[in-house]
Amino acid sequence: MANNAHRILEGLDSLAKMTGVPDLDRRMTQALEAEVIRPFRIASAVLLVAVLCGLVLVTGGPWMKGFGFFLVPACYVASGIIRMFSPMRSFARPRDEFEKGLQTLGRVWGFGTVAVLSVGGCFWFGVATSLAEEGFNLWMPRDALEWFLMGLTLVAIEMNVSILAASWALPKSAAETD
């Protein structure tokens, strides 16, 4: 009985090895525990543009809308993954003063941008509502899904702007640590 259980466990181990998940898990752990902070300028800029494109697509026709409904959550998930390796990531050890300063700068930019966009959005929706009564059709979220996507877009913008700001503030690499 015990022998059979042992064989099953061995089989499951080999199956896991074949999928490559343990190797991926080890690499992810190494990357997350890495001491060196690396900038993520291009990836976060691309994701920022992509999430904005996603929101624009949501305002379009049915086919474009479907693509937008896929693109916005995909960018949100990708931003979360990028953030885990960026200067805005969380550390297993206490952060030093330089890292704290870098993350504070990133948060100020990220939340500041979202605050400005939220205020601008409120004015926009106010104008859109008034104009809708006059027969003009300006886009604004109509149903629950569109509101949900707006929320995801704002979170993705916050993540990417903060990563961008922290990455730009990071001095040129001093990676050689002897």
Binding site: E35, D96, E97, E99, A174, T177
Partner: protein, 85 residues
């Protein structure tokens, strides 16, 4: 802000990682400090000075530190300019 962290670190025979561990910061931060890319807080500056057993103004300066060659040249010339022929 100018500093002589690298000079004192090498003099003490410490690697960046060792100094970082002594100060409780990331080794990358030591690199930024040495290059002058980052100005430390008063607390970290005093910790650095205390680690090397020197005064803060020996380690940090608002003006560039004279080069070793420049300092030797000045010493050779004496306090009243060029005296030797």
């Amino acid at each position: 802000m100018y500093n002589r962290i690298m000079l004192f670190r090498v003099e003490a025979g410490l690697s960046r990682k060792q100094l970082a561990e002594m100060l409780g910061v990331n080794a990358q931060t030591i690199g930024y400090l040495e290059r002058g890319d980052y100005t430390p807080s008063l607390e970290l500056g005093m910790k650095l000075a205390s680690t090397f057993r020197v005064r803060v103004e020996t380690l940090f300066s608002l003006d560039p530190f004279p080069s070793v060659a420049g300092a030797l040249e000045q010493e050779r010339e004496g306090p009243h300019g060029k005296q030797r022929t």
